[in-house]
Amino acid sequence: MSRSSQENPFDLNKASDFTDQEIAEQWVDLANSAGGLVDILNPKSRMPMLLLGGKGSGKTHLMRYCSAPVQAARYSGDVAQAAIADGYLGIYIPLDALNTDKFAREEPVEDHWSLVFAHYFELWLATALLATIRDCARSQSLVFSEPEFVGAVVELFDIEPAVALSSLDELLDHFTRTRKNIDSVVNNSRLRGERPLFDITFSAGRLAFGMPELVSRHAPDLRDVLFVYLIDEVENLTADQQRFLNSLIRYRRGSATIRVGGRLYGMKTLETTGSGEPIRLGAEFERVVLDEILREQPEQYDGLVRRLVAKRLERVGYATAALSSIDPYFEEVDNRDYWRSVDRHLPKPKENQLAPYHRKLATDLKSNLDLDDLTITTIIDALQVPNHRFLEKAAAFQYRKSWPANLDGAASLAIEVGNQARALDQGDRDAGSDLANLISHFSSDILAQLFHDYARRLPYAGFATMVELSQGITRNLLVNLKHIFRRSRFAGEEPFISGVISIKSQSDGVRDGASWFWEDAQPPSGGLQVRDAVESIAVLFRTVRLSHSPSECALCAFSVPLDALSENSRRTLSVAENWSYLVKLQEGRRNKNSKRIDALYQLGPMLAPRWEVSEHRRGTIELQQDLANAILDPAHRAELPNLMRKRLARLIAPSDSGLPTNPRLI
């Protein structure tokens, strides 16, 4: 336990934080099938694949798990035996070290820079492949005809190397020297404004696909091994550079194939070089979105992250916590007896002073129904539920939703609703069935309103909530847990040692996480426009949630008629989805009027605490074309205040009362 007093178990949240050995040791998997996550990548298939996903969804972890050094770590360090046993050999190639901007500082690039990139890129792949082949060749158990292989590789060049090469080391040196020469030429070219000049020594595809074929020939034990280029962080390539990669995917051959990892927005084009004809989904490549798969299997994801958290706890010495269920370490808002416990999270009620929700109700009754003070007092008295503020608030909520049509009904409605609330307080569910039914739908909104009424932050607590907030992306969960742990320690708690992590520490932690998520996503262009749009959507949800009469419970999603939107609006939605601010729900939603299926988007659950909206997938609101364009397209932004007021008119205040001029103020 000595390390636990120092270390935050969730400090490391990126695959790059781990060595190959640690990747092998810390690996956790889905429990559903024999192959688990590796089956998703399917490295034994020759069909190329685009493995996409939100930031931190585990793409790099999965690709590195299938890479040669980690394969070797699973087979006592013998990479050749690992390749033979697994049937494939992963060559992991992160593209950030390629520093692709040196070939394409401004777009569109001149043709000669495309040629330089293509040559350099293949040399880069070939160097990584050759280094792995060399590791294989060193295996005692492998018969490898090294000089013959090297001779055959030299034959692949159109211009033979100036010096004779006979060993893998010499060949690798030659690759490295050639690459460094190009680096020097490129640097000088940038410095002097000259064209980069050097010899193109081999034709495209010759090394990347030719060398694996030669391995099969000169190392017979590896003849059934598939060489898989695991090309990660494809977003680093420009569209022009991706065309060359796509061409490699199209003209893949023999015992080599390609997996391309990247963010959702990573692929800028599917076109190839030359004709520009795009590569075809299904026929030439598969496309997998990792976090989408995990979101579609919530139970699998839940199991996966629990095992992941246990590993992290174990790693830094919280052995007891690692072996037990994680949930009891997280304090939860106790929902028994209709959330009676929330009372202790709210300020103490003051004697002879109305609760804030009753004060506001009294004001609305006066202004809307023109009731006299005595009647209002009678109504408020009838809605009182002593010592149970949740039920008292629920009664006020119900009263507002049922809002009396006239003066006569005002008092009787209060008595009816108040009686139901007090019946529930006494445990009589039958007598309070209508209110109980309403609570079953709107409990999270009533809770949100109650905390808002008392100007308290809404709690987000419980491990299950943390899993839900992470939206199928493991790093989101780890970042939230990292902040929660930090907050908890700062509050003097002993997380995972004794006691529980308080609701406050958890809530503060997820708000830190939400800030990170909001600031961290940095769309390369149009970021402000997208953030404005997402913020407007979140404010709309929040306004509905805190309104006089919410139309939807736990609102977190909206549907839009995509085809009817402006191009700018569709672009905003696409960028917001690519940066995981919005999650597109594949099922869509049937439009109430036209019966067509509209596109359906959920506000990223990680952002829910930022605006205190619901993180659960329940309520959906339909955005008509005009309002959607006003939110999503800056050209229509000026129309937003009016359209927003119109859309919310029936929700934010009792009928016929004066509308607030700015719904944001609610």
């Binding site: 400090d11 790059s16 520093n99 990170w516």
Partner: protein
């Protein structure tokens, strides 16, 4: 004569001292902006010729420049294009303008770095750089230097290394400044790299160190890999920075194998000069690059008051 960086640790001199010696330059160049520390120094510099450069990032229009005498107005482009156009616009001739001084206070960091590499490349191995400290940044810890969200992290032209596909030991040394968004961009651009923070301490003034730490805390979620890897260096002495950078890399190499190295100078401009010096003297041709998060625009005025003006004699 080759000058080693360490030999120049106390080479910087104050402008007033330089002027008092009766020395002057053949050509003095300064990038125009609204800062008092740029505008008040310009007329005081002893030089046969003085030239304003109007760089595109500040977005000045013709009416803003009406009072300037013969400014060289530069169009948008890469740092290479902008700086070369600037030198051409100033009719810089290495044979006649043997004593060259450039005020870096208003220049962008990539401009400064490129200028150093370019001057060395064309054989100008000795020149002076001038920098005037602010009394304070205008909004203290909230000061915004760069504008806009469209950021692209690029290798600075002339500082592109010969990198290795093996990224397992990549190192990113960041000069920690006020612009936490830029820090976040640099870290994200080199996600696989271990981060070494080079803090400016002592800072230009006592409170600036604290202010930069406050800004840095905002990217705490990104900083999972930095535990213990913090180094300190001068804020206003590029020669000390160059020596500290060399030391930071040496320390990092003793801790773990280093594959590719990236420098990202995001603190003061003298620090950027220090990064440039170290690179041009020691790292050329290696697997090392200087990277910088480019933004389309920069604030015309970020500081208040005029602090000390330093002359840095550069020998490449």
């Amino acid at each position: 004569m080759q000058h080693d960086i360490e030999a120049l640790l106390d080479a910087k001199i104050e402008l007033s001292e330089f002027a008092a010696r009766g020395q002057s330059w053949d050509l003095f160049i300064s990038a125009y902006n609204d800062s008092q520390r740029v505008q008040t120094v310009f007329p005081k510099v002893p030089a046969a010729r003085r030239n304003w450069w109007v760089i595109p990032e500040y977005g000045y229009g013709p009416s803003d420049l009406a009072d300037l005498e013969g400014p060289v107005v530069l169009a948008r482009g890469s740092e290479a294009q902008v700086m070369k156009a600037g030198l051409a616009g100033s009719c810089f001739d290495p044979t006649t303008d043997q004593r060259l001084c450039i005020d870096i206070t208003g220049l962008m960091r990539p401009h400064i770095l490129f200028l150093m590499a370019h001057l060395q490349d064309i054989g100008v191995t000795q020149f002076d750089l001038l920098y005037t400290e602010p009394a304070q940044y205008s909004r203290r810890a909230e000061t915004r230097f760069s504008i806009g969200e469209d950021v692209r992290v690029v290798s600075v032209e002339g500082f592109v290394g010969a990198h290795d596909p093996d990224t397992s030991g990549d190192l990113l040394v960041i000069g920690i400044g006020y612009d936490h968004h830029l820090i976040s961009h640099a870290i994200q651009a080199k996600e696989n790299a271990r981060v070494v923070e080079l803090h400016s301490f002592p800072s230009l003034s006592a409170d600036m160190y604290h202010e930069s730490i406050l800004r840095l805390d905002r990217v705490s979620s990104e900083r999972s890999r930095v535990a213990g890897e913090v180094q300190y260096s001068s804020a206003n002495d590029p020669f000390v920075v160059a020596a500290s950078l060399a030391s930071a890399v040496r320390v990092a190499e003793t801790r773990r194998r280093v594959t590719n190295i990236y420098f990202s100078p995001l603190a003061t401009k003298p620090q950027a000069v220090g990064f440039g010096l170290h690179y041009l003297k020691r790292m050329r041709g290696t697997a090392t690059s200087i990277i910088y998060p480019l933004r389309p625009s920069y604030d015309k005025e970020t500081s208040t008051g005029v602090g000390r003006s330093w002359i840095y004699p550069i020998h490449l």
